[in-house]
């Protein structure tokens, strides 16, 4: 099989250029995440497994290697490899409920 080929004409760009294009977008998303965590603190009840998964992913943002998105998606994925007998829902929650 042929190896995946990144875009051969992908333009080179500096980190400043990337920031010029995408910093404000990333900034508001980070503030929205912080506001979400604050909102959770003001609410009652135990920790939802989805939020537990979100908190577990936060350290991955600070890793220096590329591939953070794939690492987070893998963290949240069902690690089993065989089909289940029957599902009790049609929906997915976003984080594998068994994640500790």
């Amino acid at each position: 099989m042929s190896t995946p080929q990144p875009h051969p004409g992908a333009p080179a760009r500096t980190r400043e250029q990337v920031a010029d294009l995408h910093f404000m977008d990333a900034r508001y998303k980070l503030l929205d995440l912080a506001a979400f965590l604050d909102r959770l603190d003001r609410a009652s009840g135990g920790e939802d497994h989805r939020v537990r998964g979100l908190r577990a992913a936060l350290p991955l943002l600070l890793e220096k290697d590329e591939g953070r998105v794939a690492k987070i998606l893998n963290l949240w994925s069902d690690p089993s490899i065989v089909p289940i007998e029957k599902a009790d829902t049609k929906a997915a929650s976003g984080v594998w409920p068994g994640l500790k």
């Binding site: 995946p4 998105v69 998606l73 994925s77 289940i84 599902a87 929650s93």
Partner: protein, 271 residues
């Protein structure tokens, strides 16, 4: 700019969406069969749906100058009912004769159950029997990685399916390399929240692959955007990609894959 919407659930969209897509440069639309948001109670419901996909929707699209193609199946969300699945599978050969049907899809898995696997195997066997291309739906969110691997194992186990005639859709950063490494085409679905965004899609194009990949909006009855493919093209443009590179991705790649079925006519060739 011209582009193909290779995976759009237009039965869920308004005529305003057709108009907006045509104005944005859409040159053709392909519509796989999917879940209606509720479980249909009988094969008769699917018969009507297949009539809608193969007869009514092409006429609706034609009013906006858009060729409309379809793919047929019972989707994995309704595959737990094996008797219903068998009845629906029996309907499909009749509709494969329709001139705008491109293959079997979107088949695959939802919660990765044993029954879903059995119905997936039956769909693959049907595609082989009638020499049809395959469009695959991979599961959502935490079920995607496992489901993608099970689906690829199932396709390979069949022994006859040619990977280059199969597109595995809804890939994300943790599945795209496996799909391409095994020789399949990969579809990146652009959703506002639940799959890839236009910016992440362009990152994958730049970092992983720009060949054997298409972009689609899926635009269905949920939170989705029928203009997300041209928005991804705009993201490429503002990052400095050439007009040729953008055209290759949003027009050339889907035309290359879909033209493996002679029923698909590249819109440029129709003029």
């Amino acid at each position: 700019m011209r582009y193909i919407e290779p995976h759009g659930h237009m039965v869920s969209r308004t005529t305003d969406d057709y108009q907006a897509m045509a104005l944005a440069g859409c040159a053709a639309i392909c519509e796989p069969a999917f879940w209606a948001g509720f479980d249909r109670k009988s094969a008769d419901g699917f018969y009507d749906y297949f009539c809608q996909l193969t007869q009514h929707e092409p006429k609706r699209a034609a009013r906006y100058g858009l060729p409309h193609y379809s793919w047929l199946c019972i989707n994995p969300k309704e595959s737990e009912d094996m008797a219903l699945a068998a009845d629906v599978l029996a309907l499909i050969p009749e509709f494969l004769k329709a001139p705008t049907v491109l293959g079997i899809g979107e088949i695959g898995l939802n919660k990765n159950t044993r029954n879903e696997m059995k119905v997936l195997e039956q769909h693959i066997a049907l595609a082989v029997q009638f020499d049809q291309m395959i469009l695959v739906h991979t599961p959502h969110l935490e079920d995607k990685r496992k489901g993608t691997r099970l689906i690829m194992d199932c396709l390979k186990a069949n022994g006859v399916v040619k990977p280059e005639r199969v597109i595995i859709d809804h890939v994300e950063e943790h599945t795209i390399r496996d799909v391409l490494d095994q020789g399949f085409w990969a579809g990146i679905t652009l959703y506002p929240e639940s799959k890839a965004t236009p910016t992440r899609a362009v990152d994958m194009i730049e970092a992983v692959a720009a060949q054997r990949v298409w972009l689609n909006s899926a635009c269905d009855w949920g939170h989705s955007d029928p203009l997300s493919v041209p928005k991804a093209a705009q993201e490429m443009r503002r990052r400095g990609h050439s007009a040729t590179a953008i055209d290759n991705l949003v027009y050339g790649n889907p035309v290359k894959f879909l033209s493996q079925n002679s029923r698909f006519k590249a819109p440029a060739a129709q003029a």
